[in-house]
Subunit: 199 residues, 2 copies
């Protein structure tokens, strides 16, 4: 069977350990790639167009929004960021699983534009633990930590449309869960039609 | 979190390798048990009530059907077989995952009575391969093999309401898929409510 890839949207508050869990889960796998976003911000030294981001003008960005060429988009520090639909679709057609690391609002847009996307929320074991981890990093000011916690609490309340929840109480266990979800989603019923057709 | 178990219904034609895949997947796992059916047939020598089956009278069986005490039931060689709802529910409450190895018609009944059950169909790589395996066994007559193939073809056509399809082209790989499905289903969104409540 020539299998299409699937789009996996991964969200979770800063401090949930999302990127560690994701890198552990995709280590050595060649069937998974990250999506590359478009952005209106200028490239930083060393950044390459098409690698870190596709760097585009505000005008082109507006055009992409108008023509529904973005699966989701958001504004951050006066710049705009978005996920190009055609880029993602091409990778899915190539049989690659595409990972999209975005916030809850973006995930909601993806759910609408691509209902078959699989939405995964990575949460810390508790808000107390999240606070402990954020403080443990020693990188944020008190105000920044408070802000992150408020934001996290809000995200949890809004995330009720996700398909899966992974509580990151242990990185290995959480990574194994993410791998299982990716594997299980490839056994979903839609492949049935392919099986039947080939028989 | 005190987690409830989940009901996994496993179906697949004779020759798909279902029981090998299942035993490989649950090897050494104490969180998974098989359901025990009720039957009207007489116990065979060595069979223990409550272990192989719960042996009950036709009258009691009819009563269970009338009182909706069975998740599914079927007739086979003039005897009746069924899955007792309270038995399954008790195990789920105990936090055990319950496996139910039944045919497509039974699975359809379970879907109606317990929509949250997870339905998994284990298929051979192809009908040709199924035929090859059935002949390879050397246990069936030509007529029996023909009958099994007709039945398999019919089951495939009817199985479009299952959640997952596992193509058993390799026992280890198929068992890993089954394990992944069980793990992934425990990350489904319903656990979210538990997480939120505890925060």
């Amino acid at each position: 069977m020539n299998k299409k890839g699937k789009l996996f949207v991964i969200s979770g508050p800063s401090g949930a350990g999302k990127s560690t869990v994701v890198s552990r889960a995709i280590e050595g796998r060649e069937d998974i790639c990250f999506s590359t976003s478009v952005t209106t911000r200028a490239p930083r030294p060393g950044e390459v167009d098409g690698r870190e981001y596709f760097f585009i003008s505000f005008e082109r960005f507006r055009e992409m929004v108008e023509h529904d060429e973005l699966l989701e988009h958001a504004e951050y520090v006066a710049n705009r960021y978005g996920t190009p639909r055609s880029y993602v679709n091409q990778r899915l057609e190539d049989g690659l699983n595409v990972l999209l690391d975005i916030e809850v609002q973006g995930a909601r847009q993806v759910r609408k534009k691509m209902p078959e996307a699989v939405l995964i929320f990575i949460a810390p074991p508790s808000l107390e633990e999240l606070e402990r981890r954020l403080r443990g990093r020693g990188t944020d000011t008190e105000a920044a930590i408070e802000g992150r916690l408020i934001r996290a609490r809000q995200e949890f309340q809004e995330a009720d449309f996700y398909d899966y929840l992974i509580v990151n109480d242990d990185v290995d266990r959480a990574a194994a869960k993410l791998s299982s979800i990716i594997e299980a989603e490839h056994c979903r019923f839609e492949d049935w039609a392919v099986w039947l057709k080939s028989n």
